[in-house]
Symmetry: C2
Subunit: 399 residues, 2 copies
């Protein structure tokens, strides 16, 4: 790729007129084919084929088919990624399995920058097990030193949802394995955002969601990767019938399905899977190194434009591109109303408590002109203190 040439495939997406969308790290935009695909699934498959569609329309295989598409984006071999459920459920599956691999150790190590739901799920599992497990959450930069021989499992989100800070996947996994710990990576802000080579990392598990950079739509299914050489020894905690070796034999006892299929649980959400499968077509032929280069270029441009225009804002992401995912955050005391004002003026980012204005960069549908235009609007909001308007002060449940 020539430097400066855009990677955008804007023509594949429906971005609303007059909107610059810097929140693809929270909910990706609508792929053009999604509505038609949903129609087809609803009328031609569900409506016309009814129960037969589980075979005739390929519904039963869809979780694995979509899993293989995602596998290609995270450096995982075909057959090693299962889709379904939510990311929180996949975290629980991975963690429960990992703990059984190191029964003599009682420490789960994460960090205090991890997405809260990952920590909550660990907390719930620990309480449920009631076997003396402890969750440690040092600061992200102290994680490496906290990986000791007491640690059963290291569970980290590669890219920090708040700051965009990125853990060194290879180095941390290596360290975890040196002390005999199992490694789980949450790729929520990595899949489709940065190049990931999960197989090369050697990590035992990875999990992620598909409604952010993968544009699968609201509540799109999650995914789980299990390293192929260990998957056959995993006894799933959430042993649902679709993870059974013969779901329709209706046996009374659970026998895990082959390989990663065993991480399936209940009846898959076909409508959401179909839309996700359609969304993933936008990734065909995308070289993740090119995507990364474009992401870094957009991020750097945004930082320099905002720092030049908005002295009120403080960069809250690592300045060095190599340490960042595909987002940039700025801290501002009045970040909440400032973000509401910005959104009201056509630039959509989001706010994360306590004071973070967060901007995601998605080269599939953003180019440099968008970034400059966004910085201009942000400058207007800041220099004219538009955020002081009463209407931007009310906090909603979802931000």
């Amino acid at each position: 790729m020539t430097m400066g040439v855009s990677l955008t495939r804007k023509e594949l997406f429906d971005v609303p007129e007059g909107v610059i969308y810097l929140d693809g790290n929270s909910l990706g935009v609508l792929p053009k084919g999604a509505a038609e695909r949903a129609q087809k699934t609803i009328t031609e498959e569900w409506g016309a084929q009814l129960i037969r569609a589980w075979n005739s329309a390929g519904w039963m295989a869809l979780p694995q088919v979509v899993g293989d598409q995602i596998a290609g984006l995270i450096g995982a071999p075909a057959g090693s990624v299962a889709t379904g459920d939510t990311l929180s459920i996949k975290v629980y599956q991975a963690l429960a399995a990992a703990l059984t691999m190191r029964p003599e150790r009682k420490v789960i190590l994460s960090d205090n920058g991890n997405f809260p739901s990952d920590l909550y799920m660990a907390e719930g599992l620990i309480k449920t097990l009631d076997q003396g497990y402890a969750l440690r959450t040092p600061a992200p930069e102290e994680v490496m030193d906290a990986i000791t021989e007491e640690v059963a499992v290291v569970m980290l989100t590669q890219v920090d949802y708040r700051s965009g800070r990125m853990h060194d996947m290879a180095a941390i996994t290596k360290r975890a394995h040196e002390v005999g710990a199992v490694m789980i990576w949450d790729l929520a802000h990595s899949a489709g955002a940065v190049p990931v080579d999960i197989a090369a990392s050697g990590a035992e598990f990875a999990v992620g969601c598909s409604y952010k950079y993968l544009n699968g739509g609201p509540g799109a299914p999650a995914f789980i990767y299990v390293r192929p050489d260990i998957v056959d020894s995993i006894a799933p905690a959430l042993s649902g019938w679709l993870g059974h070796d013969a779901p329709f034999a209706m046996e009374l006892n659970y026998r895990p399905a082959n390989a990663t299929e065993r991480m399936r649980v209940g009846t898959p959400p076909i409508l959401q899977l179909a839309v996700l499968q359609e969304a993933l077509k936008a990734w065909e032929g995308v070289d993740m190194a090119d995507l990364r280069a474009a992401s870094v270029r957009l991020s750097e441009l945004f930082i320099s434009e905002v720092e030049a225009r908005c002295p009120e804002l403080t960069l809250a992401s690592p300045r060095e591109a190599a340490l960042r995912g595909s987002q940039v955050s700025f801290a501002f005391e009045h970040g909440y109303p400032a973000m509401q004002a910005l959104i009201d003026h056509g630039v959509i980012g989001d706010f994360r408590a306590p004071n973070i204005m967060r901007f995601g960069f998605t080269p599939l549908y953003l180019d440099e002109a968008d970034i400059i235009a966004a910085a201009e609007v942000l400058e207007d909001v800041m220099s004219n203190q538009l955020w002081k308007n009463e209407k931007y002060q009310t906090r909603s449940r979802v931000t």
Copy 2:
């Protein structure tokens, strides 16, 4: 309702031309509004409002809004039913919570007619807990006597997926409570099929799915009911961020949300929930006693027609209507190819191993003429041994 007057609301559903669908107990038919609702959710909400739709389109509240719609169909008060995930996940949540309520007891009682996934999830939880729990699965008719003071939790599916046999919810719950056990009802084949008064039963938990009689579509979300007086003491095993009291405060520790909201886990499947919400409109104004009367009438008619026409088939459901849900099963040694032949001739039922031909009765879109027509086709399949055709012998993964 006058005896014999049909309850059908066929005009609300798209049943394919030339098909008589007796498999609404597996996957309900397509409600006419579903496709349009999916379009609206995809283009007007996701596409146009993007991340803002979590507030502006009411997505965040949708699981509870839909939960309240389902509550109305199972005799549960508003606010007591949460939706999301799959039925298997909801079984796990209910069971894990129930076990913590009777920490000194180690027996989970179910029956060997329960849907295998419920048993598998119990097996997975028992293994994960590793605290000496045992799962007992006597025959359904021996359950009542097996409810002893050793039992921590009684977990049963009210209507047997294979035979349609129905447990006496009031009597079993009463017995469970007499010995101090917690009661969990799986309403997969009850919700929208038979009148349920879960509040009157006094059961602590109920779970169910919405893609059968509720017509929510393939992989539609599950639901969980928790008795209001105990819900605030439940510490959810699957403690995801959307079950947190303040999901967007991004606290490091889990604090359960109010009431049944705490049974939410991860990001809800908005597309599937929207379609389900639309599907539930068909239930507005339906009196469940009328529905039950129509269901019994259709079932009785089918039994008498089939017994008169097909001596090869043996009734595998209770003959007494009061002991049956809204399905009728017949045993036949060659049930698999016979069902394939029947489907090929326009009457869709399904097969359950080892030898059960299963027929579901859904008065919202079936009338007496359909039942007689179906029996005629079945007679043709049986008396002319159409099932012997080579093409009906190949077993698929999904039946």
